[in-house]
Amino acid sequence: MRLHEYQAKEVFSEAGIPTPDSKLAETVDEAVAAAEDVGYPCAIKAQVHVGGRGKAGGIKLVESEDEAREAAEDIIGMDLKGYHVDKVLVEAAVDFVNELYVGVTMDRGEGKPVAMVSTRGGVNIEEVAEEDPDAIAREHIDPSFGMQPYQARKAVYDAGVDQSIAGDVASILTTLYELWDDKDGSDAEINPLMVTGDDEVIAADAVMNVDSDALFRHPDLAEMEDEAADDDLEAKANEYGFDYVRLDGNVGIIGNGAGLVMTTLDLVDYYGGKPANFLDIGGGAKAERVANALDMVFSDENVDAVVFNIFGGITRGDEVANGINDALEQFDEIPKPVVVRLAGTKAEEGMEILNTDLVQVEATLEDAVQATVSLTEEVDQ
């Protein structure tokens, strides 16, 4: 779960990390009033879960009331890489001489947290990591003891941070680690951490992503969730509780288990088709989930045919088959042709149950995928 910049800054600021003066606004008038309040120059920043907001026109620096109004009019309501902007953060500009990076994340290879510092802030840190890995100082943290003070200092000195601000940066890194640890963060980042001419250190941006599996013990953070989906279909998937990713092809794909669904996508591609989506209905799916899954792919106008591939462990083939029949019997005319392949628990019973007037049944995964791909080719012609 991702926090917006303004939410992350609230959390950081409460913990004592310096942030610029700022105000949240949802209308143009509010934004202008906020700008007058924090003073000029200030930045008007779109609050959406998109990287590279600046380049995409979602962040504007303004110097006067007129400019503030113009920028707010441009940004509020704009479509930023598919996300609708309905909130902006109006924030005092920082007159900086240097930009640093500090971050904490989980190093999955090592199974432990890692704290990172770099003097090359203000740019995409993943690019820095790739071009010049040594430009980022990394310090692995023992999760049972937490970050020791020397580790924060070591990361800061290893990164080559100037002596005059090293203590402040180490203290910010320590606070960032503590927040990451307390709040079940997956990533916590300040990029850039700005350094002013008189050696003040200020968090000009803030990223805080929280482990969704841990939200049960952070009701305050759960309340902040505002995961505006990319498009209506992804919003629908959230509502139904599916793992769903929309792609740009025309073969609708429904299956159980992430690895098998990915494999089904890959096979569609292998046999010359184009996957329209990834949809994992999860383990133990019953009639309602089956119907919801079909509704999802039928609602995607790009889809020309659907492959429904279930390998039952805890999912039962007979229950899936009944769910497919029930869902399809609702229609006078089936919206898109559906090819079904059932294997595993109660698969034979399921194959018997399936109404072959409504669906095409195939015995193997390969056959089912090929049949679906050729159905989409027929539609194309």
């Binding site: 199974g111 990915m262 990834f278 462990g313």
Partner: protein, 289 residues
């Protein structure tokens, strides 16, 4: 011979009184697994599926001589259950639970490194030695006994590949579902090492997926240390960067690490052919046996 579990494995089920725990205990026993106890705090003295329940894992081990546990405990309490199992010095702990917070697993992983216990999972289907024992939720009927070892990050993909193997008359020595979470106990290399040491495993199928670098590291291990032939399969070739494909670990990051191409070429460079489809995986195995 087999890997980690066999006829003699004595299993305690943590969370045996829950819906999942009870159902799968029955399934495991039906398959022939030697389930000797359950452990659920506050339920000591009860009986589930004819198996005595104890309040602690320690009591269960003491009374029934269990040497392995299967964890069906809900996510909020699962890390604690893993700590309890690890501190009881069991040989094997299989954590089925999905959705354990990653920071909890980081601590469990640290503790695991201080013990001699093998942890499989979490968020995994478990482990099975066909005809002998299964610890977890794998559907026993698709497996057959033989000489192909299998290690996989995904549950249903394991079933798919096993089904193809069994269909073509190729039985399995042991199949291990290591799970799709960012932090897991037994990883590919640990499993490959066990298969390499097992005289009855003549070839290994390794099913990986996008995300992380475990497959690349495993490929280097195969090239350097393994005589037993390995055939790979990588799911997620068509996954776009930045989108998480179900598993918490299955994501190609913006900088291009964890891609299917990098994993496939690492395996091939280290002498492990990679199948484009599950059927092709079986073709390769047939060639190598």
């Amino acid at each position: 011979m087999s890997v980690l579990v066999d006829d003699d494995t004595r299993v305690v089920v943590q969370g045996i009184t829950g819906g999942e725990g009870k159902f799968h205990t029955e399934q495991m026993m039906e398959y022939g697994t030697n389930v000797v106890a359950g452990a659920v705090p506050g339920k000591g003295g009860e009986e589930v599926a004819g198996v005595p329940v104890y309040d602690t894992v320690d009591q269960a081990v003491e009374a029934e001589d269990a040497d392995a546990s299967v964890v069906f405990v809900p996510p909020a309490f699962a890390a604690d259950a893993c700590f309890e199992a690890l501190d009881t010095d069991l040989d094997l702990v299989v954590a089925i639970t999905e959705g354990i917070p990653t920071q909890d697993m980081s601590k469990v992983y640290k503790r695991l490194g201080e013990t001699d216990t093998h942890l499989i999972g979490p968020n995994c289907p478990g482990i099975i030695t066909p005809g002998e024992a299964k610890l977890g939720i794998l559907p026993g009927n698709i497996f057959s006994s033989g000489n192909v070892g299998l290690v996989s990050r995904s549950g249903t993909l394991t079933y798919q590949v096993v089904d193809n193997l069994t269909d073509r008359g190729l039985g399995q020595s042991t199949a291990i579902g290591i799970g799709g979470d960012p932090i897991i106990g037994t990883d590919f290399i640990d499993a490959l090492e066990l298969f390499e040491e097992d005289p009855d495993t003549h070839a290994v199928v390794m099913c990986g997926e996008i995300g992380g670098e475990d497959e690349e590291e495993a490929a280097r291990y195969i090239g350097e240390y393994m005589d037993t032939p390995v055939v790979g399969f990588i799911a997620g070739r068509t996954a776009p960067p930045g989108k998480r494909m179900g598993h918490a670990g299955a994501i190609v990051s913006g900088s291009g690490t964890g891609t299917a191409e990098s994993k496939i070429s690492a395996l091939e460079d280290n002498g492990a052919p990679v199948g484009d489809t599950p059927e092709e995986v079986v073709d390769h195995i047939e060639d190598l046996l």
